[in-house]
Symmetry: C2
C-alpha cells in the first residue's frame, strides 16, 4: 500500500519556492504505487503539529503547474524551529500522532538552514521514537547560505533582481548626476552573508559600470574609507552607485543599522542602513543622494526570476521524491556544479547532519582585496545562476499568479496547543 | 535648406523617455528635406546654454532603435529652469547665440511641468527677441501630473511596476503572516499627487487582494483611522499590504516624513515615510512589519515597462517632429483618450501656456470615500495604461541597454558661465 507524503514550506519564502512544491507534487503523482496523497502543511511544520493539512490531490494539474510561476509560499510558511528531543518531547509525539493518523510515510521539508535542522529531527523519529519516516530536505533560501550545495534555490532569482535593479538605477542616476542626485544606494536583504549584495556586482561588466561599490556584511564598515571611495567615484564618473547589504557591521561587529542610530534618549532611530549611509554622504561629502530598500520586493519578484534558478527549484523538488522512493532519508537534495561555462549541474545529495545549522559565508577570495567589489572568481560562480528569463503569464498588464483551493484534510485528532 | 533640431531631456528620467528620443530622432531622419541634424543637449537645456551639443547623426540606426528599450536619459537630464525674460536675459541671448551658431530652427524639449515652462519660453524667442524657433514640448513624467493629456509618458510603466510589485509582495506576505510579518508597506515616489500610489490599487482585483490600503498625498493622514484600518485588515485577512505615497501629509499639510521625526535636538531623524508608518504599526498594533522603498527602481525599471506606455512615449516623440514640420510651435504633444475599453487613443496637441506650471492632481472621485483605496472610475482610467509587456533583450541574464557614443558637436562660441 502506498503511504502518504507530507510537504511543507518553511522560513522566508522566495519567488520560486512554489516551483519546488510543483516538483514534489508532480513527481509524487507519477508514483501512485509508492506515494498516496501529498498533504501540504498549512504554514510549514505548524500544519503538522496542529493537524492543519491541505489535500493537494484536490488541485487540478493546471493549478499545480501554475505554481511554477507563482511567488510566495502557496501553502503558507512559518518561522518555527523544533526544539531538541530532550526539550520538547510532546511536539515529537504529536508529530507522530498526526503522521500515523494520516498514514504519512514521507516528509519533504522545503527551507533553509533552520528548516534542515527540523527535517533532520523528523528523520530521527524512527531511531528515537520508533516511527520510521523518510525525511528529505528540499533546499530553499534566498540567502544562499546552505553548505554542500552549489547554490540555494531562490538565490538565483534574488541575484538577478539585484543585478537588474542596480543596472537600471545606474542608467537613471547617470542621467541625473550633472545637476541633481550623484549617489544612489540600494539596500538589499542578507543579514549574515553577502551573497545577495555580491550578486549586484554582476551588473558591473566593465570599469565605470554600476554598481561602483558593494558593502558586504563580511567586511567591517570603515566610514573614512567608504567616503573616500564614494568621493573618488563621483569625481571620476560623475556619480556613484552602491549596493549595501542590510547586514553591514561596524568594527565592533554590531549591525550598522542598529549601532549609532540612537537619539538623545537612547531610542533607536527610525530607518535602516541605507538612510544612514545616505546621511553620511550628505553630511560629509555634500552630495545629493537617493536610496531604495528592496526588502520583500526582491525575493517576491517572480516577474524577473532566473530561469536557471527556476529549473533548479523544480528539479530539487522532483529529486526529493525520487530519493524517497529510492529509500533515502535524512538527506538534503543538493545541486552539484560540473562546470562554470557552460554551466553544467546535476542533482546530488548531502547528509542533513552536515547541513543543519551550518551557514556558508562568502569566501574571502570572492570579495575584492579592498573589500568594495567582487572578484572574477566570484563572478564565475555567480554568473550562471542568473541566466535565462521565465516570465509569468500576464493578463491586463498584471502577472497571473495561482491561488490554490487549499482544501483541508478532515481532522482526526484532538487539538494541540503550540508552545509560544 | 533644412535647419537643424535641438532635442533634450529634462527633469527626473523614466524607463521610457529614451523611446521618445528615438521617436524624435527617427522621425527627423525621415524628413531630410525639412530637418538637418538632430543635436541633443547634453544634460537638458544646460547643453544648449553651454553649447554642449551631441551630434546624434553619428549614431547608427540600431543604436537609436535600441533607445526604445533603454531606461534613463541617454543624453543626460537636468533640473534647471529658465528664469523669466526680465530676470535673466543673458541666458536667452546665449540660447539664441547657440541656436544661431548651429542653425537650429526646431526645439524639442522632453520633460514635465517645469520643462514645459522652459519650452514655452523658448517658443517666445521670436516674438520677444526676434529669433523665431519652433518649440514643441514632448511630455514625460512618471508623476502623471501634466494637464491636457490623457496621461504622461513614463507614468504607465511606473504604474505597472507598482501594481506588479505590491501583488508580488502580497503573495510573499500572505505566506509569512501566520508566525512572522503581518504588515508590509511599499513606499512609492510622488511628492505632490497620488497617481503612482493609486496605480498600486490595480493589483487589487477582488476583496482581500493586495494592496489593502493606499495612502495618498491628497488625503490628510489620520493616525487613528489608519491604525484602525490596518488592525481590522490583519484581523480579517491575516495580513495587510499598504502602498504609501512619499508625499503623505498630516492634517497641517506637512510631509509626514518630515514632521514629527525630529530627535531631542531638533535634528531630523533618518529615514522616510515607510519606517515611520512601520514604527506606528509596531508600537501601537504590536504587529511585525517589513517595508520597501522603491525610489529610483520604480522609474528605471525598463524590464517591466508597460507596452502601452512605451508606444505612447515613442508616438509623442514622433508626433513632435510631425507637428514641427507642419509649422506648429508653442504646443505640447498630448494623448487623447477616445475610449477606455478597448483603450483607444490618438495624438493631440495642447497650448503650452496652458500646460506650463499646472499640476494635475488626482480627482477626488478617483479616491474611495474613506480615502484608503481607488474607485472603479479610477480603475477604468488607470487599467489600460499598464497593458502589455515589452521586455528588453537579455544576454547572460542581464538586460542589454544602449550606451550611445554621444559625440560632441565642435564648439563655435566662447564658454558661458551658468548661474548657480
Amino acid at each position: 500500500m502506498p503511504r502518504n507524503a507530507f510537504y511543507a514550506q518553511s522560513g522566508g519564502v522566495t519567488a520560486v519556492i512554489n516551483a519546488s512544491a510543483a516538483g514534489v507534487i508532480e513527481a509524487a503523482r507519477r508514483q501512485p504505487d509508492r506515494i498516496g496523497k501529498v498533504y501540504a502543511g498549512r504554514n510549514g511544520i505548524i500544519g503538522a503539529l496542529t493537524e492543519d493539512l491541505i489535500d493537494t490531490s484536490q488541485e487540478p494539474a493546471e493549478s499545480i503547474a501554475a505554481l511554477r510561476h507563482t511567488p510566495g509560499g502557496a501553502f503558507g510558511s512559518c518561522r518555527y524551529k523544533l526544539k531538541g528531543f530532550d526539550k520538547n518531547m510532546a511536539e515529537y509525539r504529536r508529530l507522530i500522532d498526526v503522521f500515523k493518523a494520516h498514514d504519512i510515510g514521507y516528509f519533504f521539508y522545503n527551507g533553509g538552514g533552520d528548516s534542515a535542522d527540523t527535517c533532520l529531527k523528523v528523520s530521527q523519529l524512527g531511531e528515537k521514537l520508533g516511527y520510521p519516516i523518510q525525511a528529505i530536505h528540499v533546499p530553499k533560501t534566498m540567502d544562499n547560505d546552505l553548505p554542500l550545495t552549489d547554490c540555494c534555490p531562490g538565490f538565483g532569482s534574488v541575484a538577478k533582481y539585484t543585478a537588474v535593479s542596480i543596472r537600471e538605477a545606474g542608467f537613471d542616476l547617470a542621467s541625473m548626476s550633472s545637476t541633481s542626485t550623484q549617489v544612489f544606494i540600494l539596500e538589499v536583504m542578507g543579514r549574515h552573508a553577502g551573497w545577495t549584495a555580491a550578486a549586484g556586482g554582476l551588473a558591473a561588466e566593465k570599469e565605470g559600470d554600476a554598481p561602483h561599490l558593494i558593502l558586504f556584511p563580511e567586511i567591517a564598515f570603515d566610514e573614512e574609507r567608504f567616503l573616500a571611495r564614494v568621493d573618488a567615484c563621483v569625481k571620476r564618473h560623475g556619480y556613484c552607485t552602491i549596493v549595501a547589504s542590510e547586514g553591514l557591521r561596524n568594527q565592533d561587529g554590531q549591525f550598522l543599522s542598529e549601532a549609532g542610530t540612537k537619539d538623545a534618549f537612547g531610542h533607536a532611530q527610525l530607518g535602516g542602513l541605507a538612510p544612514l549611509l545616505a546621511q553620511l554622504v550628505k553630511d560629509k561629502l555634500k552630495r545629493k543622494y537617493h536610496y531604495a530598500i528592496a526588502d520583500y520586493l526582491m525575493r517576491a519578484a517572480r516577474h524577473i526570476a532566473s530561469k536557471t534558478d527556476l529549473e533548479q527549484s523544480y528539479a530539487v523538488g522532483r529529486a526529493a521524491v525520487e530519493l524517497a522512493v529510492a529509500g533515502k532519508s535524512g538527506v538534503m537534495v543538493s545541486i552539484v556544479r560540473k562546470s562554470d561555462s557552460p554551466y553544467v549541474w546535476e542533482i546530488g545529495e548531502a547528509p542533513l547532519a552536515e547541513v543543519a545549522n551550518v551557514e556558508k559565508k562568502m569566501p574571502r577570495d570572492f570579495i575584492a582585496e579592498d573589500g568594495f567589489h567582487i572578484t572574477d572568481k566570484c563572478r564565475r560562480y555567480l554568473a550562471p545562476l542568473i541566466h535565462g528569463e521565465d516570465y509569468p503569464p500576464f493578463r491586463d498588464g498584471l502577472p497571473r499568479y495561482a491561488v490554490l483551493r487549499n482544501a483541508p484534510v478532515p481532522k482526526k485528532l484532538p487539538p494541540f496547543e503550540l508552545k509560544k
